[in-house]
Symmetry: C2
Subunit: 147 residues, 2 copies
DNA sequence: ATAATTAGTTCGCCTTTCTAACAATTAGAA
DNA sequence: TTCTAATTGTTAGAAAGGCGAACTAATTAT
């Protein structure tokens, strides 16, 4: 049991970076997108959670506030996101995708998905199901509270 | 079927970065290690494949040669790795861990594993098994040839 | 009213990564 | 064999992502 946990930990440490790397490469060569993973994650989160605050975003991405502020800054300059102050508490900001932002994130996702799908194409339904279940488990474990 | 593939792809894109982020954080607060993920991966690969060439390493990490050269440079400066020219083909170099390198990578791995193990601790044996199987599948898909 | 907390930003720093240009060595072709 | 190709690494320069520390502004608590 303890051994299985250790094996899993080691597998995670080995495999997760490789997956990221593959996604990064696919993201880069995606026509119509060419966006980095952190930017993609940011846009994706804002898309799923419009009017989110910066802290909220930072917590979900597992980054510090300064890091996130900078990320968002870049996105605002590219007009992919709007940063507006929240009237009920004027310390906060709310983040919303622009149309351009939504279209970028959609096409980046489509590109990456297409490339990933091709890699996953050789697997059986059972194997895909295993991966799906594993990702659900891992996501619930690693979601958010890493900080 | 196609839908399952897409779902899996999306899960991968969402979850893999979160795992990485968690590992990064755990790596950083690990006493006795404090090493970044790329450096850890490099040391780990050299440990498992002593006398590897730089290209070999780069291919496995999915990085370009210059990136790797610089990474290794840092490790050599810290005396964690030795870079020696390979006599039979003097263009190549061979990489070997120093004792300090081995000890760093071991303790970093132990730290990260301990922290990951704690997170995985709440899972059942079946769930761990699912994750293990999934990682094996993913590793075989994403190993190496991403470039 | 003042102190403490919270939300974001700015600053300065370091690391990771890339491309482009280069040197050195080896392998291949004329 | 000699000249050209290809391979292996390195250097230089730039961009991006991450951090902590120090700051401002707004809100909440004492």
């Amino acid at each position: 049991m303890a051994k299985l946990i250790d094996t899993c930990s080691r597998e995670l440490m080995d495999t997760a970076p490789q997956i990221i790397q593959a996604i990064r490469v696919e993201m880069r060569r995606g026509r119509g997108s060419d966006i980095s993973i952190p930017l993609f994650r940011t846009l994706g989160f804002v898309q799923r959670n419009p009017y989110s605050s910066l802290s909220n975003l930072a917590e979900h991405l597992g980054l510090t506030l300064p890091s996130d502020s900078k990320l968002v800054d870049g996105l605002v300059k590219q007009k992919l996101v709007t940063r507006r102050e929240f009237m009920a508490d004027r310390r906060m900001i709310t983040l919303v995708l622009t149309k351009a932002g939504a279209s970028i994130v959609d096409s980046a996702r489509a590109d990456a998905q297409a490339n990933l799908a091709q890699k996953l194409g050789g697997l059986s339904i059972d194997e895909l199901e295993t991966i799906y279940q594993a990702m659900k488990l891992l996501r619930s474990i690693f979601a958010g509270q890493s900080r």
